[in-house]
Amino acid sequence: MLHYEAVIGLEVHVQLKTRTKLLTRAPYRYGEEPNTLTDEVVLGLPGTLPVLNKAAILKAVQVGCMFGCEIARRCKWDRKNYFYPDAPKNYQVSQLDEPLCKGGFVEIELEGSARNIQGGHRRVALNRIHVEEDVGKLTHGSDGSTVDFNRAGVPLIEIVSEPDMHSAEEVFAYLKSLEMHLRAVGASDCDMEKGQMRCDANVSIRAMGSTALGTKVELKNLNSISGVCNGVRHEIQRQICATEAGEAIVQETRRWDAEKNNSTSMRSKESAHDYRYFTDPDLFPITLSEAQIEEQRKQVPELPFAKQERYLTTLHLPYTVTSVLCPDKRLSDFFEATQALYTKNPLSTANWIANDLLRETGNQPWEALKLTPQHLAELVRLVDEGVLSKQSAKEVFFAAFQTGEMPSKIVKDKGLEVSVDTDALRTLCEEVIAAFPKPVAEYRAGKEKALNVLKGQLMKRTQGKVPVSAIEKVLAECLKG
């Protein structure tokens, strides 16, 4: 039996997060009443004309810079003509042969051998990124269809990869990386459920070792990242089965049905659209100066993978924590801000954020957060300085999270400050030393780690209320005897 290699390219549409639409100043926000975010231009009323939103173009340039694309100094706008009730003008302003960005790549992280082990990295080549306008949204009901034009005219970038992925896993890593990077530059929130990111996949297979491209099938209606992966995985299998059965793969567009875990043919190559592209006479080509492009390049922040590398190598954070912090700009921003206030314990800071903060915020809107980096920096410091025990710290964190009170005040109000009764602790230490002669002997024989048993016993007996630093100090004194 032959071995096959899948070849996959993705076309990803991403809504740019701009205040206004691509060709008019009508605003856009997700989830508003239907047809309230429109104007005469969005609705394509007779006589209306487009005016380009410069902020959208510059944002797209920034995305291009981030992915190492070549940015066009001049690019034109084309009309893509087709009739559909969600398109107010029955054409879409897009870019056919002069995209804003060419080439470039998206770095992806492949799966590691275990959850806590970093996977290898590779680059997925991009073909282009171009800018276009979104269309409205159709809803089909039993008594007819309705259309909401709120979304119509929202700026989109279409990120077209080369056929450079070979498995559903790579597709997953690619989409995750896109999401992470686009969020990092604030280009989009990339929420697929809200339609902020949409993906079509081109899939073909070939005999392993071959360099020729097979007949490609386009998959549509892939509505989540896992949906894309399932759809692609299924399509690869479908094509392998068909080929094994001696059937030819037909160039077609197939619609993925996530519920049925199956795809059905939408249209064949013969019935493919003729979009009758031509240069939009209402928009002159745009030109970008070197300085304008350079300014966008400068605004690209430290990218997630670079950040992760820095956390791993200079802050010595464990991989698992970095893999939580780095893809999420909000978490890594919070971490950096806390670090800036208190640098002595990055691991503790990172753990608070990656575990407690992330868990507590859950699906709450980040904007409503009462806990700030000031709170966390103070909390970590209080623990480090032995003012607060680890166990009480959890309580203080929770209180600060809910009320926004500073940890020092909470500690004071609740009387959580550690007051170590050194005499009582010494008595406890002596009891434990007497009760566990074996680890004591081992310790005295030079085995440092044996002490952990004693420490554990002491923490248990002090119910975690005494800081480890105090326990260590007194225990050491007792052992010296």
Binding site: E40, L43, G44, L45, P46, G47, T48, L49, P50, V51, L52, R79, N81, F83, P85, P88, K89, N90, Y91, S145, V147, D274, R276, Y277, F278, P281, D282, L283, F284
Partner: protein, 489 residues
Amino acid sequence: MEEETLFLPLEQLVAGLNEKRFSSEELTKAYIERTKRLEPEIKAFLSFDEEKTLREARASDERRSQGRLLSEYDGIPIGLKDIFSEKGQPLTCASKMLEHYVSPYDATVVERLKAAGMVLFGRLNMDEFAMGSSCENSAFQMTRNPWNTKCIPGGSSSGSAAAVAAGELPLALGTDTGGSVRQPAALCGVVGIKPTYGRISRYGIAAFGSSLDQAGVLARTVLGAAAILKLLCGADPKDATSARKEVPDFCKEIQNNRGKKWTLGVPEEYFGDGLDPEVKEAVLAAVDFYKQQGYTIKPIRLKTLEYGISAYYIIATAEASSNLARYDGVRYTYRSPNAKTTEEMFSLSRSEGFGSEVKRRILLGLYVLSSGEYDAYYYDKAQKVRRLVYNDFAEAFESVDAIVTPTSPTPATKIGAKSTPLSVYLSDIYTVSVSLAGLPGISLPCGFTQSNLPIGLQLIGKPFDEGTLLSIAEAFEEGHDFLERRSRV
């Protein structure tokens, strides 16, 4: 008020208002009376909101009494071709497709007329979606030529030209994609100017061929056209293709240029086969007039003339096929009651809502844009021809200040006389190249045929040099008395 007053040139109407010989309301009422009397014969108006018009006139009189005039032309009535969006007014484009559409916003030019305090006087008939040059393509009515009601008024700004010629109005706005202001002006014996592409914002004007469409002014005199043109021109943030060029005071330029002896080019290609002998004679007589005035007359060549019409009909129809795609039965347009599916909603609404000429041009446009089996790329080729046409003119303008040609190869023909679409398309031959090159062009009366039909003279100018063009036109007007002639109606 005497009927003669209604035929006065703009500056004298302004003087009449200033000297309180009549109020804006009186003037407007007089035009309304005359319009009501003539409309059964002329049929220039598609709709007329009398109450609104009089309200605007009274508001102007109110401003005048308070000394708060918005401009020199405050209180002067002006008509709009039914292609300009005016808030709260119908915008039909003379199409069944938009029969019940009311615009919720003002076109930029309408905003500017309002800001000048002008009285917006009715909605004027046209060829459907500005496609045609006879008015025979209006879905609603056939506007008549006031000089002979058996004849076409020209088009597509048919109602605008006929209403001004008949004295129903002193001024009107039209649009010109391939000659739609100049040709009806010629056929109705009035002045019609289309400025350089980009001079006037296209925002709010239902699009036909976006890279060619320009608003224009129809008036009884060159000075009148110049005055209104000045109001309309200038960059508009809502139209990315509007030119960021300074707008001179055209009337002042005309005054400053009086007595100047310009150099005029006469292209031999524009006087060849197909040109009516009476038109030829009148236009050559005009050339002679200039010569006698001391102008330098220079024979020139514009070899691309014959290719212009093909390139024009490819570009204009391609753009139209896309521009008119929005009229689909989904929202504000005609929707076929026979449609059962989405597909039918599109196809039947468009089949039933558009007239045959519009459908013909949309089909042409779809065809030239299609990436067919042989990949013809008609559109790209036509754009190259367009460049050549422009170069042709640019070369000529190295040695002349303006070019003189006939506006239309024939005077107004009888309604229904031109039977094939091609014969209709060819009547645009002298005007489309000017549009392709984006140049300013003006048509003004230069004589009459033996059967008393007006003949138009076309002057073509350099880009953004409307001032020179208007000055040369005015010199001709000054030396003739065509203004004294009245149409038969």
